[in-house]
Subunit: 435 residues, 2 copies
């Protein structure tokens, strides 16, 4: 164990130093495709190497090939954070290597998962009594929810979602052998309830916080229609769900209490490293009907259910530990503070864009995502994005709205300060002027 303690000290120090200097590293990796591969041996070693050699290569070879999601100036897609307590909880989880294939193979992992899902349900003011469990990503959570919906209405083969629903809905629908019906959106990128057609539908997916603009579908109207026609309502709040820890933002969850399932990614805006997607359902028996197979070698005297009966994977790592560590080490107020600060920064950036000639806001701002563009051609905006990203100073991503190329600035990194947002704005204006 001397080796483990010594190697561990080195690894821990490397991680600490990484977090201290991540703001000095180019946010978007500057390597070319294939460059990393060419720097690594084509074959594995025959003989053991010391861990210090691995750590050296992480620093010298891997680090330049990383895009730094932990950088305070990472503003792409949805920005995420792996917080310090969660990092250490992952160390513990790996050491413990619990595998909750059944309750008895890890009562701790099985029961803690239920407890922390209840805790988060309370923080987000979800209805009492929903069954929660953890999946890897929202892609899987949505697949699991839609499989539950299909189970209840096997003759109905259509899933309805807005044009702005995440691509994972299309993936899940295709995987399940169902058919996706895209519903048009209004001028604020929200599903148009007047265009909702539930003919032959087994499920409707409402998005609270779409990927392109963080728009919020009209869940109450969608819930009305679903209740009327007996259709499963799945709510995808992968990004925005965490914001419901703040009561003043809960307008966005109106109607969600009537959903049949809900996904919120704790690895997006709840300080937990990937992967940790939270799936709740009001109808867990449908998930169990879809996935609950108990072969002989898994039958036990306790007959206590395993979480695997509610999803695809049988093996399950101890994901709840990191979420538990975050909930305790931040508390309700710590999580609220994070969300509120990120929204304040987004509002600030939005105001700068709005007040500056030659720039425009491209979609109503919700939460911590600002969609904007330089007035002018799509090509100029695309070039602007490539240029600021190539600088390594900041990283933003883009989308298309009504056919126009639009930049997205997403705030979600724990380390992001007002100075970082100002750096982004200054750089955007400077590079735009130089185009």
């Amino acid at each position: 164990m001397t080796g483990f303690r010594d190697d561990g000290r080195e690894a821990l120090e490397w991680a600490a130093r990484y977090l201290e200097r991540v703001d000095e590293l180019p946010v978007l990796s500057q390597v070319d495709p294939g460059e990393l591969r060419s720097r690594l041996p084509a074959s594995p070693p025959d003989e053991a190497e010391p861990f210090s050699a691995v750590l050296r290569d992480v620093e010298e070879i891997l680090l330049p090939a990383m895009t730094h999601w932990q950088s305070p100036r990472y503003f792409g897609y949805f920005a995420i954070s792996s917080s310090e307590p969660a990092i250490l909880a992952e160390l513990l989880a790996a050491a413990l290597n619990q595998n909750a294939i059944l309750w008895r193979t890890s009562p701790a992992s099985t029961e803690l998962e239920g407890v922390v899902l209840d805790w988060v349900a309370e923080l987000l003011a979800l209805p009492v009594g929903w069954h929660g469990h953890i999946e890897d990503t929202a892609s899987t959570s949505t697949l699991v929810a839609l499989a539950g919906a299909r189970e209840l209405a096997p003759e109905r083969r259509v899933v309805v979602a807005s044009e702005h629903a995440h691509s994972s809905v299309e993936k899940a629908v295709k995987t399940l052998g169902l058919e996706l019906r895209r519903t048009p959106v209004d001028d604020a990128f929200r599903l148009r309830p007047d265009a909702l057609d539930l003919t032959g539908a087994c499920a409707v997916v409402a998005t609270v916080g779409t990927t392109s603009t963080a728009s919020v579908d009209p869940v109450p109207a969608m819930a009305d229609a679903c209740v009327r026609d007996g259709v499963w309502l799945h709510v995808d709040a992968a990004y925005a769900g965490s914001a419901m820890v703040c009561p003043e933002l809960r307008w966005a969850f109106e109607g969600v209490d009537r959903a049949d399932s809900l996904v919120v990614n704790a690895h997006k805006w709840m300080l937990v490293p990937v992967d940790c997607s939270l799936l709740w359902s009001r109808r867990p028996e449908a998930l169990r009907a879809a996935f609950g197979l108990v072969p002989e070698y898994l039958r036990t005297a306790e007959a206590t259910e395993g979480i695997g009966e509610y999803g695809l994977a049988l093996g399950r790592r101890f994901r709840s530990l990191k979420l538990w560590a975050v909930l305790r080490c931040y508390g309700r107020t710590g999580l609220q503070r994070l969300i509120r600060e990120h929204i304040r920064l987004a509002e600030l950036f939005e105001s700068w864009v709005r007040d500056e000639a030659g720039w425009e806001i491209s979609a109503p701002r919700h939460f911590s995502l600002v969609c904007f563009r330089r007035e002018g051609s799509d090509e100029a905006n695309e070039e602007l994005l490539e240029r600021v990203n190539a600088s390594g100073e900041i990283f933003l991503s883009h989308t298309k709205l009504d056919g126009r190329y639009v930049l997205r600035l997403a705030i979600g990194q724990e380390r992001t300060t007002e100075d970082d947002v100002r750096v982004a704005w200054d750089l955007l204006r400077r590079d735009a002027a130089g185009l």
Copy 2:
């Protein structure tokens, strides 16, 4: 960062101490269902707590509710190991929080995953050029492979597998809306090729190392039939695949070179903590046809593919890092040594059972799994299992073969020594005598 360094030191020391004393802890958790939950608060804290409070509760509250997969006397299901370099690699991965949704969002994670899958392919003597990527569990890997098969032959709705194929095959088939045709096995629990009916089949699943007995399906005959009828052959070697690092065991992979896809779980017998399931395919274009959706907000200038195009999940954590750490810190010879020692211990245990009156071997032993029973009733064997497991000294699981209750002793923990196996045998004999 002082907090992180101090908390990290405590967490690391706790992990080191855990690994030092895990052999003294009851292998199977001795708590009752609900006991852990009742010891945790019903609500999350409002205010932040120090990380040391979390660590204290891991020790005092969670630890008694754990079944110790890291114990040298864990012999249940398939025993697994989380090795020291892999534990530290998970710490690094959590600190880096790479999310490889696209190549550009983590060239390091994207390319290292390709490199280590090539490395393992070489170690296992797989054909050159197969496309490999990592999924969470074999359940997902098999789903992805069968989705690829369905894509190539959408009009054929049957998947063929043996009666002894893993329950995850049934789950995947059901999820994909396909139909499972179970093929009978011979007296050594291998699929009977003369009973193989490929009518309407889009895929056949061959298992190398079944869950009940580690039996090996006749892959060459199954490959012949698949090639003849143009049917996708998926090989499930989740457990036994890692053993192919030893040339003397490669008889078990005969014919696998003609498979269309193959799953091996590095988190089973390759010293990597859950989850890390390796999926190779000879036809990656089929996986891409099944899962490759690239929405606008994910399109990038490099047009370099993301691994997510080959599976369900879009978000992907840096799983390759722990596998890379293991491959380097053990090397080919270290992995061979582990496999050979585990097989030696299983052979030894098998010989003890065989030579003892009143006991019988219930299935041919393959690799490191011994299926055995006390002569007599199923009830007596079941009681014996409950009794030895309740002791906390060892943990074994069971299966049913030809309707009879059978005990399984699976060796796969890195810490397991000959003494541990002897403890298991002494305890089994003692408790059997007392029944």
